[in-house]
């Protein structure tokens, strides 16, 4: 108010500083997305060439049971992975959040460390771990169980997906759990609640926002995974990600691959929007307490 010029110049400077980020996002995210969106409506020749033009054929082809099945399977796997990651993530996050303040950062770092390794390397590590010469099978044989290599298998895929996405689940849950007053746990015990009741009535509702973030952050990227099903599942049950890769590379049908990519993108956006709506409804009701206090409701 007092000095009109300073804010104006600083605003211009602000835009200037935003420029690199805007440029990067435009070139690496928006432009490719526009290209893919455009290609998804393009006509393809029988050899997979991109002929341009406009057609809805690509989307119509996706209704073919082969594609629909993969899409359904991917959604199922993503939902399963999101559920398993969130449940395991909840347990891990609760464990960490209830440790002494000094050990918590150490445990969190331990959760992150594997995340610093390359995704592909970690996936290969699972082949070794679950393969015929690996420690898991050796242990089973030692116990007298006749076991074959677990790779490729559905179980290996599930385990590896859990491993890949667990840190993504742990962090948001831990963040929301850390803000829960520890005396609530004692209060619940004091009021007669056992382990199950304490979690069902107190900790799960109070970490709902973290749980929702966890579901979203594991569900959406699982849809795009393509390395794990190939390496650990033997490529027998491809996920949407695999299919897109196959359409682009082996079938050389860019328009069809682009159409499938757009479908996945829309599904992801829908799930993010749904999670956002649920979260907003929750936090709205949590703060406003049934319309009684409009003042505080607006403070969200």
């Amino acid at each position: 108010m007092v000095d009109v010029n300073t804010p104006r110049t600083s605003r211009a400077a602000g835009y200037l500083m935003l420029l690199p980020a805007v440029a990067v996002i435009t070139l690496l995210v928006i432009v490719p997305m526009v290209v893919i969106a455009r290609d998804s409506f393009a006509v393809s020749d029988p050899l997979g060439g991109n002929l341009g033009g406009f057609t809805l054929d690509n989307y119509a082809k996706l209704l073919d049971p082969v594609y629909a099945k993969t899409l359904g399977y991917s959604l199922g796997m993503a939902a399963l992975n999101a559920a398993v990651c969130t449940v395991v993530g909840y347990i891990v996050a609760y464990y960490i959040a209830t440790r002494p303040a000094k050990t918590q950062p150490v445990l969190l770092v331990l959760v992150i460390i594997p995340f610093l390794t390359d995704f592909l390397v970690r996936t290969f590590a699972w082949i070794t771990l679950l393969g015929s010469g690996g420690p898991f099978i050796s242990l089973l044989r030692l116990l007298g169980v006749e076991a074959q290599s677990l790779v490729p298998s559905q179980l290996a895929v599930t385990l590896s997906l859990l491993y890949a996405f667990l840190p993504v689940a742990v962090f948001p849950i831990y963040a929301s759990m850390r803000s829960i007053d520890p005396s609530l746990k004692e209060a619940a015990a004091d009021l007669g609640a056992g382990w199950w009741q304490t979690h069902a009535r107190i900790f799960v509702p109070l970490s709902a926002s973290g749980l929702a973030s966890s579901v979203m952050l594991t569900f959406v990227p699982t849809l795009g995974v393509f390395v794990i099903p190939v390496l650990l599942g033997g490529g027998k049950d491809p996920l949407v990600g695999n299919l897109i890769v196959t359409l682009f590379t082996e079938f050389r049908n860019e328009p069809l691959g682009a159409a499938l990519s757009m479908v996945v993108l829309v599904l992801m956006l829908l799930s993010v929007a749904a999670a956002g709506l649920i979260l907003r409804a929750r936090s709205g009701s949590a703060r406003a307490g049934r319309s009684r206090s409009p003042k505080k409701a607006s403070a969200v």
């Binding site: 007053d181 004692e186 619940a188 004091d190 609640a193 056992g194 009684r292 505080k296």
Partner: protein, 385 residues
């Protein structure tokens, strides 16, 4: 209430707790009667919170046992003990309404829906929050949250409610109101209250009996008036209210006390006192009277010099220095201050006197040194508050 046949609400036998090498609660025995408002009073770090947490079951005692209503509960977990706690932070469930917070225990225990409703409404009426049932804790003031916590603690009709410094977070005025409210509610519900506090005024106002703790030990268990008028030790005398302490020696006949450098002073010497033994005299500031050492012949009394005075609203506090250099505090209700007293100038000589009954003879212990000997600062009652 017939106390001979009724088992105590809480009975602690040889209860002790150590954290590593640090023993925070020395082995102690304590009995809390049914329906009693019992306070555990002591400075921070005296072990009172640990003691309370052992009663609730949050802490496992290193030794000794806890009995509730005549039954040993050492192997019973918190969730099955018939007691509730009012937490210092209130520990209200932020996602639940006032109603659901209060109903929590009944829901967990699968009480019938209709009964839940009746009892929750009752409990909310008790704490006068009937109109706030649908609010969330975040929409309440500190005092209201505290009432919700209290309603939640009593709604299941436990045998005992433990209160952990519940008034600490409230402002002075509200705290005073709540003291009487708590006492009223405790009488209405008839539940045994165990009130843990470091605030001697709270303990005196509300309690039927008080246990004074220091350094993990219970020093005295008695009614507020007894604790104030007949403190058992130097620590109790100085921790509860303000108190002048004079070190002296029992005279040869065993009837009086001689304070070195001052001479014989009035004191009520117990028959058991050993002549020649060192004692501490505890004299409340309001029981000392002060006169100007004028032209009149010096009567019986202790000579001193007026050092300074402070007006505290309800009373005047005078600091006087004895000839030995020791500083004593004299307090006079402000409404009753005589013109003569007001006329004494700082630095003038005065004469102090007190009745023998006002000077309580305590063992000259050195064991409990947590409280500094009644210094002038600790005697400035309420000045800090």
């Amino acid at each position: 209430m017939n106390e001979t046949t009724e088992p105590p609400a809480v009975k602690l036998t040889g209860l002790t707790k150590s954290f590593g090498a640090n023993r925070v609660v020395q082995p102690l025995d304590l009995e809390i009667r049914q329906g009693e408002f019992f306070s555990i009073l002591g400075p921070s770090g005296c072990g009172k919170t640990t003691l309370m947490r052992m009663i609730t079951g949050f802490e496992t005692p290193t030794g000794g046992s806890v009995e509730l209503d005549g039954k040993n509960v050492d192997a019973v977990s918190t969730k099955s003990r018939d007691l509730n706690m009012l937490f210092q932070s209130y520990a209200l469930f932020p996602h639940l309404s006032v109603y659901e917070n209060v109903a929590f225990e009944l829901r967990v225990r699968r009480t019938a829906k209709r009964e839940i409703d009746t009892r929750v409404r009752e409990a909310l009426e008790l704490v006068r929050l009937g109109a706030f049932a649908e609010r969330k804790p975040a929409e309440l003031s500190g005092g209201q949250r505290q009432r919700v916590a209290l309603a939640r603690a009593v709604v299941g009709r436990p045998a005992v409610v433990l209160l952990d410094e519940p008034l600490g977070a409230l402002d002075q005025k509200l705290r005073k109101e709540m003291q009487f409210e708590l006492k009223r509610m405790q009488r209405e519900v008839g539940i045994t209250f165990i009130y843990v506090t470091h605030d001697q005024e709270e303990a005196l106002t509300m309690s039927d009996r008080i246990a004074v703790m220091s350094e993990g030990r219970v020093l005295q268990v008695a009614s507020p008036t007894e604790i104030y008028d007949e403190p058992a030790s130097r620590f109790v005398a100085t921790f509860i209210g303000s108190c002048n302490i004079l070190d002296g020696v029992v005279d040869a006949e065993g009837r009086g006390v001689v304070v070195p450098g001052v001479g014989a002073v009035p004191a009520l010497v117990p028959a058991t006192a050993v002549p020649g033994s060192g004692v501490a005299l505890a004299i409340r500031p309001e029981r000392v009277s002060m006169r100007a050492l004028g032209a009149a012949a010096p009567a019986d009394g202790v000579r001193a010099t007026l050092v300074e005075r402070a007006f505290l609203g309800d009373e005047w506090t005078f600091h006087v220095r004895l000839e030995t250099g020791a500083v004593m505090t004299v307090s006079v209700p402000s409404g009753e201050i005589a013109a003569e007293l007001g006329a004494i100038a700082d630095g003038a000589d005065v004469l102090l006197s007190w009745s023998a009954a006002a000077a309580r003879v305590l063992p000259a212990e050195a064991a409990v040194t947590a409280a500094s000997p009644a210094s002038a600062t600790s005697a400035l009652k309420g000045a800090a508050a």
